[in-house]
Amino acid sequence: MGYLLDNCRFGRLTSEIINQCQPYTCSKNADIDSFFHDHTQDNYRDYRLEMMGTTHCFFTDEKDNTTQPKMVCAFSLSNSSLRTDILPKNRRNRLNRSIPNAKRRFQYPAILIGELCVFDGFGHKTFGYNIADEMMNLIKTIAIDPDNNSSSRYLIVDALNSPEVIEYYKRNGFEFLFASDEEELEHLRSGHSSDMQNCRTRLMFFDLVVLNQQMH
């Protein structure tokens, strides 16, 4: 049905999997490339050991056992939240009233997509399939799975601020958390007193409530 389902194996990224795969790269971004490898600074293992996030990967299922698998794509997920602390009181109440059974709080559970990558050689469309969209659908499914022991309302991502990346998240239903680069910079500056001059990334979110979960 999908390229990842039909042609790949899926699991947590480990040294064992990396060692059995052919060398792989994400030439579009050095930080992302570094994250998904061993023996690099601040990589997926550090992330996991410090319980900051879990990293999953897809690699080709080479049934003949003579060809080394190819790493196709990977992503990491962490628990996070969205806060709306200083809303005017009437708006705050309206939001909280519309979340059934919720205690009146201004912090909403979310899942942060920490890193996400389709590796070189597996482009936007591979053999007619859109690998990146299939991966995002998997992330959404993980988030809404009724068998989860905890719930999240939103997916959040800090997307690279490039037309191709932004278009990908928009196509998958994500919205900007801030209306403009300027508004986002203003919020980030006020929180971190940083000297940021431009938005290298944009925060985006997906509201999981719109998905029909009747299928499971």
Partner: protein, 53 residues
């Protein structure tokens, strides 16, 4: 060792109002997106996840 997890800034002012408005609108169209085909594909992937065998 610093592993960087993006700090999500607290939404205030117009950004917060915009977010609330979108969230309210999404609640009104709860479960309106048919995700069954995509979910079926994803659950099939999860079923054959390494370590689940």
């Amino acid at each position: 060792m610093a592993v960087y997890v993006k700090a999500i800034p607290t939404l205030r002012g117009s950004a917060a109002e915009r977010f609330v408005k979108m969230s309210e609108e999404n609640l009104r169209r709860r479960a309106s997106v048919d995700f069954s085909k995509e979910a079926a594909n994803s659950y099939a992937i999860l079923k054959k996840k390494e370590g689940n065998k």
